[in-house]
């Protein structure tokens, strides 16, 4: 037996390593109940409530995707609106070909992956801050290219075909469910992705890129994977936005405003935690509803809160919650506990 084996077996005898926090089981039950209630919501409340909830789900999905990209992949992008736009226009184009708009939403995610693959080659030539602005320019290029295509409505945008025959209430409920499915899928997707081999690789890359690559992690491949998943999620979100608004406008759908929303939701909620975007989106959504009568002042407030969070609360509100309570709804790390003692840490 070598020294290292001896040391490992001795260490293993003293601690338990598990992948779930103590609080994980009860919180899983609570989340399951919450999901069941959310699924049943169209039967329980009026459609104006579910219609607003669609916006919340879209925000959750977008923020989760940005969190995956920046918080776990270290890729701070200001250009994810490229994929929101491509997703939205995919749904429009597919619906024109006779595909059901609801079926077109997952297909929009696939389209975005196809576009993201060559784009990533270009974008990955930029590092750090320049990646941020570079992705933004790429989004602008996509917008300028789309408005040149006359069959997509040019600069004035286009309406969504293929939904006129469906009953309005039923259409509302279907839109709600597909938005809910999107939000759940992005959260579950992040969770499964990060618990696996890729998650471990990503966190190593995020913490120290050179060290990660020296122990054999293919840094570029890990980052590209995250970029593609994030593009797919944003594309599907763009599709849902189109299905819910029934039309698309190039300036609005390719607007950098989406990036502002994503970034501030994640920063306020807590970057690098799966729970962060969820909490941030709920807060953002509540602010939006509360301050709806004050015009763009809510964006001023949002910007100011974002600046404050970046300066004084770098791990966001969820970081605060976690420090106080140790709560973790989606644990992706490892919990090490000394046997017999209560000391627990990630």
């Amino acid at each position: 037996m070598t020294i290292s084996q001896t040391l490992i077996s001795r260490a293993a005898a003293a601690v338990d390593v598990s992948r779930s926090a103590r609080s994980s089981k009860p919180s899983a039950v609570v989340m399951l109940v919450a999901v069941v209630v959310l699924v049943a919501l169209p039967f329980l409340v009026f459609s104006n409530v579910t219609d607003t909830m669609v916006n919340l789900f879209v925000l959750i999905a977008l923020a989760s995707m940005w969190n995956l990209l920046a918080g776990f992949g270290g890729l701070v992008s200001v250009g994810q609106q490229a994929y929101i736009g491509i997703g939205a226009y995919s749904v429009i184009a597919l619906a024109d070909q006779g595909v059901s708009p609801f079926l077109a939403v997952p297909l929009a995610a696939v389209t975005c992956v196809i576009f993201a693959l060559p784009t990533s080659w270009l974008a990955f030539r930029l590092r750090g801050d320049y990646f941020a602005v570079g992705t933004w320019v790429i989004a602008e290029v996509y917008r300028l290219l789309v408005v040149r295509v006359d069959s997509l409505g040019g600069a004035s945008g286009k309406g969504l075909a293929g939904l006129s025959g469906i009953d309005q209430t039923f259409r509302g409920a279907l839109t709600y469910w597909i938005a809910l499915a999107l939000a759940l899928a992005t959260i579950a997707g992040c969770y499964l992705l990060l618990r696996g081999r890729l998650g471990l690789a990503l966190m190593a890359v995020r913490d120290e890129e050179t060290a990660a690559s020296s122990v054999g992690i293919d840094v570029r491949r890990a980052k590209r994977m995250v970029y593609l998943v994030s593009a797919a999620g944003c594309g599907a979100a763009g599709g849902v936005i189109t299905v819910s608004s029934l039309s698309v406008n190039p300036d609005a759908i390719f607007s950098v405003q989406w990036s502002a929303y994503m970034i501030f939701i994640v920063v306020i909620g807590g970057i690098g935690y799966i729970e962060g975007p969820l909490l941030g989106a709920v807060i953002f959504f509540a602010l939006q509803q509360l301050l709806a009568d004050y015009g763009s002042w809510y964006l001023v407030l949002l910007g100011a809160v974002g600046i404050a969070a970046a300066l004084w609360l770098p791990r966001g509100l969820w970081g605060l919650v976690r420090d106080r309570t140790g709560l973790s709804l989606f644990p992706v790390g490892y919990f090490v506990r000394e046997r017999g003692a209560d000391a627990a840490s990630r």
């Binding site: 200001v78 930029l126 570079g134 790429i138 015009g295 001023v300 600046i307």
Partner: protein
């Protein structure tokens, strides 16, 4: 002759882009800050000038003389109060803070001045031009802007290479800790760099305002021009920024000659091409 005209107008426009990009390049070179609020600051300067002119009735040149130093002071304060704090929390924090600033500035302008497009009235100076040949004429304003850009860039270059403060600035940029050890106060020096950057942004904002119309939401698209000029020319070299601005200006101007809808796209495509095939920029300079 139309093509030659497009190239000449593009070169003049490029001067404005270079003037505007100087601040972005300087802040990145010295502090590694990409200021995402850069474009909005220029728009704030335009609106401030507009408000001053309509409020006090002062002529434009006095407003210019007031606005530029005011922005320098604002820049110094922004660096000391806001950006310095974010520097210690890592690169993501600076990006977030400047992006937050951009959103705040845009929406405050929107609330105060509404979404209407405005222009700064430069009088006969802004509309007048002289003829070079029968078909090519150069506007006084474009030529002045171009010369101003050259003067500012030469001035910054001289400041960095010849003065004591410039030397400390370069030292802080190369290695902040060591510069601090030998007596440079990096916080003060960073403040100076940001003050210069803000002053040039204000100047560029006023020139933009006289040249074309502006509204509160135009900042981000202008930031992209500045960013493109910096990357095309090559990071950290004032001459690179001038060259980058001119390449961008000529590309946009020639693109517009082919089809007005191609103006922006042509510029972006040249930027992406430089990114793909010559990521260090046309003139690979040292930092600052």
């Amino acid at each position: 002759m139309n093509w030659l005209n497009a190239v000449i107008q593009g070169l003049m426009l490029g001067g404005l882009y270079a003037l505007f990009a100087t601040g972005l390049s300087l802040m990145f070179g010295v502090m590694r800050i990409v200021n995402l609020g850069h474009g909005d600051l220029a728009v704030v300067a335009s609106f401030l000038a507009l408000a001053l002119i309509s409020g006090t009735g002062l002529p434009l040149w006095i407003v210019l003389v007031v606005t530029v130093p005011l922005f320098a002071v604002l820049g110094y304060l922004t660096q000391r109060v806001l950006l310095q704090r974010s520097l210690s929390s890592g690169p993501l924090a600076t990006l977030l803070v400047t992006f937050g600033l951009s959103i705040v500035l845009q929406n405050v302008l929107l609330e105060i001045f509404s979404a209407d497009t405005r222009t700064l009235d430069g009088g006969s100076f802004a509309t007048g031009s002289f003829e070079l040949t029968g078909s090519i004429s150069v506007g006084y304003l474009s030529l002045t802007t171009f010369l101003l850009a050259v003067v500012v860039l030469v001035g910054i270059q001289m400041f960095l290479s010849r003065t004591g403060l410039g030397r400390m600035l370069r030292a802080s940029s190369d290695d902040r800790e060591t510069a601090n050890l030998v007596g440079a106060d990096s916080r003060h020096i960073y403040g100076i760099a940001t003050a210069i950057a803000f002053a040039t942004v204000a100047l560029a904002g006023l020139m933009f305002g006289m040249r074309s119309s502006f509204d509160p939401s135009i900042g981000p698209s202008r930031l992209i021009f500045a960013f493109e000029a910096v990357v095309i020319g090559g990071l950290g070299s004032p001459w690179g920024t001038l060259l980058g601005g001119m390449v961008l200006g000529v590309t946009q101007s020639v693109g517009a000659q082919i089809d007005p809808a191609l103006t922006l796209l042509a510029g972006h495509l040249v930027f992406l091409a430089v990114l793909a095939f010559r990521p260090q920029g046309l003139i690979a300079g040292r930092t600052v």
